[in-house]
């Protein structure tokens, strides 16, 4: 569980982690030790509370960090690189994963609802629906999301490139009247 806690800590901004990470981990270990002596139910409640606390805390800190100063920090890890953008790359990856999980859950729920609708009143299942259907798989969802992201990125890049080539970005530096005559 400590490994999972460490993993969830990575969701926090690196500046926050460098200040509070060690303390949080030490406190978690002590609290875990206490909870393990209080029975299985207490232990489960404790883990659930910790996971939820970390997820909501990380989301809040990310939001605050993005609102306060541009992120110029090296977030670290294999999926990230030093960035001057306001949104760290790890946050984008995390949001994509969460979005895909939500899509997957919706698809599963729709599938289950479809399955139960197919059961007739006398309890027989119609021949067309023998298995629990799923409209989207996780892999196809990921593929669609990445394809859309690539397409949007490509269009944005094309627009930026065309603007740069046309010199339109220099219009804001263009003086319509000499400075001295104002």
């Amino acid at each position: 569980m400590t490994a999972m806690y460490r993993l969830l800590l990575k969701l926090y901004p690196c500046r926050y982690r460098s200040v509070f990470g060690t303390e949080m981990l030490a406190d978690f270990r002590d609290a875990q030790c206490d909870a393990s002596h209080s029975g299985v139910r207490c232990c489960l409640v404790f883990y659930l509370r910790e996971v939820l606390g970390l997820l909501t805390g990380a989301a809040r800190e990310r939001l605050l960090a993005s609102q306060s100063v541009p992120c110029e920090l090296n977030i670290g890890g294999t999926m990230t690189r030093p960035s001057r953008c306001r949104f760290p790359n790890s946050a984008i990856v995390m949001m994509t994963i969460v979005f895909l999980i939500v899509l997957e859950m919706i698809a599963k729920i729709q599938g289950v609802a479809h399955y139960f609708r197919a059961i007739s009143v006398d309890g027989h299942i119609s021949k067309s629906v023998r298995s629990w259907p799923s409209h989207y798989g996780l892999v196809s969802g990921i593929a669609v999301c990445f394809a859309v992201a690539w397409a949007v990125g490509l269009i944005a890049w094309a627009i930026a490139y065309a603007t740069q080539r046309s010199g339109a970005q220099r219009f804001d530096q263009f003086q319509t009247w000499p400075q001295s005559q104002r």
Partner: protein
């Protein structure tokens, strides 16, 4: 005195109350809050440190240098501003309690 930008929620109030007595580190605050509220308010480490972060930013608490830092622990204590805000909040709650008592007494009479 100026009000803090942090909303004094119940957990934040318990944290401030916990630090009013003495400087404490995170785990000690967790346990103290649990004891003060009879187990009603159970803070997770994520919630606790989120609150401590905001309180530090607003200057209501400060880090307190401990002699033994072998476990990577850091103690926190209330600042003068933090004490003022806490007193102000407690006075506000007292006024509210008094008002509620008066209103209930008026209704029962």
């Amino acid at each position: 005195m100026q009000l803090a930008a942090t909303t004094i929620t119940e957990p934040v109030l318990y944290i401030l109350l916990s630090l009013a007595q003495q400087a404490r580190h995170g785990y000690s605050i967790l346990k103290d809050v649990g004891q003060m509220s009879d187990g009603r308010v159970c803070l997770s480490t994520g919630t606790l440190y989120g609150a401590l972060h905001r309180l530090l930013d607003e200057g209501l608490i400060q880090r307190f240098e401990e002699e033994d830092t072998s476990r990577g622990r850091q103690s926190y204590q209330l600042t003068a501003k933090g004490k003022g805000i806490l007193r102000q909040e407690v006075a506000r709650m007292k006024r509210l309690t008094r008002l509620a008592s008066l209103r209930f007494a008026g209704r029962e009479a």
